[in-house]
């Protein structure tokens, strides 16, 4: 199928399904069943076995119709779905993918733990076999959407006697299980975007395992690779951040100093450079020659966002001494440029931590892009239970 045929198919779908009269969920179900949800997925699972890039044809034609609120269900779309597609059984694919894409069932990701952050392979949440089920006990952290989620993708330790990468397995956890408790995790901004999840003998049927027992690390790699693709394909928000501060500058002529002026222009230049680097990256992709430059983008964005937002608080002078609101809130969506300057400054501190710290990213760049040798490791050959914790 070429672009033109896909466009015609989409128009035909639209003429048979009037989104203005149909219920939103019915419309989305029909779209999924027509293969127009994610065209790169297989036929029968919301797709048409087409290249991922052709999705833009569908998105253009369906612009203005009800969507599945991709930001609300980003973890399901970006991480759970590709992992289920790669490692799931036929039953699992049929059961989970449709309600996931439609947004009827929200997903969250139970990976990070208080004792396993950058070193994800060290997770200690235990899954112990109990007949045809597994009993899961442990604590997860930094879980977005856990309080709204119906299901979670879960990385747990099934064999503590093996080295850390070998003793992991990957499960789908029902978040309504009585053994699951979700608590808000308040951040330095005052908000609680994330949660802590405590599991006490939470029951997972063995049929909800993704991949073989002991293959959890491999399955998790697929999830994380897709997370990077999802993050990388988003437009870089660095530009809008610099725009916000530039506006604050224009609005506060009484607070101008030559020193702040030069710093602001420097950051504005870096922000434009980041935008151009993003444009160059897309040109490389379009030319079929993706380079390693993508891994520079998150690093550069985090640094820029922190410097720009820090400058804004300083630029505000006395007003920078005030904060808009410390009330514990549960925001539906994260907006890096939303709220006040103080919020932006504090929220930006997370940019160099979430989704891979800047330090880990620098290791990845140094080792995979520049080819520098890895640090000698002491943790990969011994049994997980014998590692210092």
């Amino acid at each position: 199928m070429n672009d033109k045929e896909l466009r015609e198919l989409t128009r035909e779908f639209l003429s048979n399904n009037d989104h203005q009269t149909m219920d939103k969920v019915d419309f989305l179900r029909a779209r999924f069943d027509a293969g127009l949800a994610w065209v790169h997925f297989p036929t029968g699972l919301g797709g048409l076995d087409l290249p991922r890039a052709m999705q833009s044809v569908v998105d253009e034609e369906l612009a203005g119709t009800p969507d599945n609120e991709p930001r609300r269900i980003g973890i399901g779309l970006g991480m759970a779905a590709p992992t289920i597609l790669t490692f799931g059984t036929e039953e699992q694919k049929q059961r989970y993918l449709r309600p996931l894409w439609i947004g009827e069932e929200v997903w969250c990701q139970l990976f990070s733990e208080p004792g396993a952050g950058s070193d994800l392979a060290a997770v200690g949440t235990r899954a112990v076999k109990d007949g045809d089920d597994w009993l899961v006990t442990g604590q997860k952290v930094w879980t977005s959407s856990a309080h709204n989620a119906r299901f979670a993708i879960l990385l747990a330790r099934t064999d503590p006697d093996l080295p850390k990468h070998a003793g992991l397995s990957y499960f789908i956890l029902d978040m309504t299980d009585p053994g699951v408790e979700v608590r808000p995790l308040r951040q330095i901004t005052g908000e609680a975007e994330f949660n802590e999840v405590f599991m006490t003998d939470a029951r997972v049927p063995d049929a909800n395992r993704l991949g073989a027992v002991g293959e959890g690390w491999k399955v998790a790699q697929t999830t994380l690779m897709n997370e990077r693709v999802a993050i990388g394909s988003r437009p870089t928000p660095g530009g809008s951040m610099a725009d916000v501060v530039a506006q604050t500058w224009r609005d506060n002529p009484d607070k101008h100093t030559p020193e702040l002026h030069d710093r602001l222009l420097d950051l504005w230049t870096r922000s434009e450079a980041l935008r151009l680097a993003g444009a160059r990256l897309r040109q490389q992709l379009a030319a079929g020659a993706p380079g390693p430059e993508g891994s520079a983008m998150k690093l550069a964005f985090a640094q820029l966002a922190q410097q720009v937002s820090g400058l804004e608080v300083e630029l505000l002078g006395e007003d920078g001494l005030r904060y808009d609101d410390w009330t514990l809130r549960r925001p539906e969506k994260v907006d890096f440029v939303g709220r006040g300057a103080g919020y932006r400054y504090l929220r930006a501190k997370g940019n160099s931590i979430e989704g891979g710290t800047s330090e880990v990213l620098r290791n990845i760049i140094a080792e995979r892009v520049l080819g520098l040798p890895a640090e000698p490791r002491t943790d990969t050959k011994v049994a997980w239970k014998d590692l210092p914790r």
Partner: protein
């Protein structure tokens, strides 16, 4: 907007790099810089032979009929080798100034001579001149051109100086042959060993007028803006050499029983240089593709910082050997630092950006 390298540009880079690999190895460049012939004019003639020195000159004016994009690729390679050739003075500044003049016979003749390598020229302005701030140090009167111009790049090997001079009705542009009594070129002891500067004194020098007040100022401006944008590509080449060389050294050098490149403290610094290079390449290509002032100032301000940082890291991460005269790292540090002043500092270009960004003081 194309921020990538075209196939033609990639081929051009390969030819230039082959030539420079053959003729401009660091040891040879280093050995030359303290002799009385700091420029490699044989190498220069080879570059002329490749057509690399007249790329953005239209064919009807004797050039290759390409664009600044291709000249920028040559600048990257010349930066990568800190090649001691008068490319900035002759092929960029003088040439671009001439392209901004009405194509009179005199202008055509000089462009032709620069293009075929029979003449080396440079723009008689201090290398530290930022675009948009030309106040000529030279005055034209009945007895010829007179004035003193400090710190002119490539003047030491120039046959002809393209001189902005104050005439009765405004700025004029003149061609001044160096071989005459009224011209003295005094080499300075330059920070940058591979692009030496010289002080020029004109005392009643005879000249050929190239442009009068109607176009002289825009011709000089165009040369400086184009030069600033192109220097960003040279700075990119400098930074690339510094990163590549440091990475190779850190893989090879062992201390504490392992390659020093396996220590995070050093790896992270190199990852930062690499990240800077990703941004620098984007803005340098943008300036090569888009001749506007905004693109040039963005590229020059960012790449100045990036090249100096890369060269400083190169010296530091090499440890003791990086501090020796014998190791070429200092040639790159000196070029990077001089380039950061040339044609407007990073800070000056940020100020020039202010109205474009609508972030005014």
């Amino acid at each position: 907007m194309n921020l990538l390298y075209t196939d033609v540009e990639t081929d051009l880079r390969a030819s230039v790099r082959d030539l420079l690999t053959d003729r401009a190895q660091p040891a040879a460049v280093l050995a030359r810089c303290e002799t009385d012939q700091p420029y490699d004019l044989d190498l220069w003639r080879e570059l002329v032979g490749l057509g690399a020195t007249s790329l953005h000159v239209p064919e009807e004016l004797g050039g290759q009929g390409a664009s600044v994009r291709e000249t920028a690729v040559v600048m990257e390679e010349l930066g990568r080798f800190v090649a001691p050739v008068p490319f900035l003075g002759s092929a960029v500044l003088a040439t671009t100034a001439l392209l901004g003049c009405k194509p009179s016979n005199e202008v055509r003749e000089l462009l032709g001579a620069i293009g075929d390598g029979s003449t080396i020229a440079t723009l008689a302005l201090s290398l530290a001149t930022a675009p948009g701030s030309t106040t000529p140090d030279t005055i034209r009167s009945g007895s010829g051109l007179s004035g003193r111009i400090r710190s002119v790049a490539d003047a030491r090997v120039a046959d002809v100086l393209v001189v902005p001079a104050q005439g009765q009705d405004g700025l004029e542009l003149h061609a001044v042959p160096v071989a005459q009594q009224g011209v003295t070129v005094t080499p300075a002891t330059s920070l940058d060993l591979t692009r030496p500067i010289a002080d020029v004194t004109l005392d009643g020098a005879t000249s050929t007028p190239l442009a009068g007040p109607e176009s002289a100022e825009s011709a000089v401006d165009s040369a400086l803006w184009t030069g600033a944008g192109l220097l960003a590509s040279e700075q990119l080449g400098i930074a690339e050499w510094c990163l590549d060389t440091t990475v190779a050294y850190l893989k090879d050098r062992n201390q504490f029983g392992r390659p020093v490149g396996s220590f995070q403290a050093l790896k992270h610094r190199l990852a930062d240089v690499w990240q800077d290079l990703v941004l620098a390449r984007a803005v340098a290509r943008n300036a090569a593709d888009d001749p506007g002032q905004l693109a040039a100032s963005m590229a020059k301000s960012l790449c100045s910082t990036v090249a100096v940082h890369a060269a400083e890291e190169c010296v530091q991460l090499h440890g003791g050997i990086g501090m020796t005269w014998e190791h070429p790292a200092h040639l790159y540090l000196k070029r990077a630092k001089a380039d950061s002043i040339a044609l407007g500092t990073a800070g000056r270009h940020r100020q020039l950006l202010a109205p474009h960004a609508n972030i005014t003081a």
